[in-house]
Amino acid sequence: MRSLEEHLGDFDARRVRLVAISVDSPETNRDLCREQGYTFSFLSDTNAEAIRRYDLLHAGAGPGGKDVARPAEFLIDSSGTVRWVNLTESLAVRARPGQILRAVDDLGLASSRL
């Protein structure tokens, strides 16, 4: 998340919005953004509805056996079509901002602006 925040200018320049989603409540997300200085969107999926719809439920993997999302990143174009997906096989490995930005550029999603 920190590295994404550091590259926010690069995403803004390409008119690509960053949206983080987890089962955390809006209050938790507000605290997180205040403490860590994150300025992009954080959405609350407390009932794991969107998480289920994207088949990302990691049942019982949270504290106290609560359901959480398994980490994943999706790049969606303005028509609502998925253009790039990263489903990590290890919790320790996430998509790097450079990887996502390269996908945006390689797919020509922001070509009208560059």
């Binding site: 987890s22 955390d24 609350s44 949270g62 998925v82």
Partner: protein, 150 residues
């Protein structure tokens, strides 16, 4: 003659401990040392080498150096800690669901309506439609799903 403290053993154990406790606050922050924890593994190797050096000294020159027992205990403990770390990083961190039903490239992204941190309702379709038809239109959205409970 008084035997000398076998500093190498204790130093090695401290190096292993510090490798373990710096992984989360330091190395996880940088993708280069997180995706594969080579920095932590290198520190582990250095710690083990120091303990091995100390043990060799203690057994080869027991009249000069202490640390036969301490070396074995700290060496075993060090190995156990390293095993614990490797189990976590290389086994438990990989226990993620396969997500075979996740939308793939070329598929429509399922819409959703979720609350943002200010309690405002946000939909994917709404995000994508922002600025439509103007020069401010959005070129895309990156959804970053994460575990939460921070």
């Amino acid at each position: 003659m008084k035997r000398r403290w076998n500093l190498s053993i204790w130093l090695g154990f401290v190096v292993i401990l510090s490798a373990l406790f710096t992984y989360l606050p330091v190395f996880v922050r940088f993708p280069a040392t997180r995706d594969f924890p080579w920095a932590t593994l290198l520190l582990f190797a250095a710690g083990l080498a120091l303990i091995a050096r100390g043990l060799a000294r203690a057994y080869r020159e027991p009249h000069l150096y202490r640390g036969k027992v301490a070396g074995l205990i700290l060496g075993g403990l060090g190995l156990a800690l390293i095993g614990f770390f490797c189990l976590g990083v290389f086994h438990f961190a990989r226990q993620v669901p396969p997500s075979t039903g996740a939308p793939g490239v070329g598929q429509k992204a399922p819409d959703f309506a979720l609350l943002d941190k200010d309690g405002k309702r946000v939909t994917l379709s709404g995000l994508l439609a922002a600025g439509a038809g103007t020069s401010d239109r959005i070129n895309g959205v990156v959804l970053v799903f994460y575990r939460g409970y921070w």
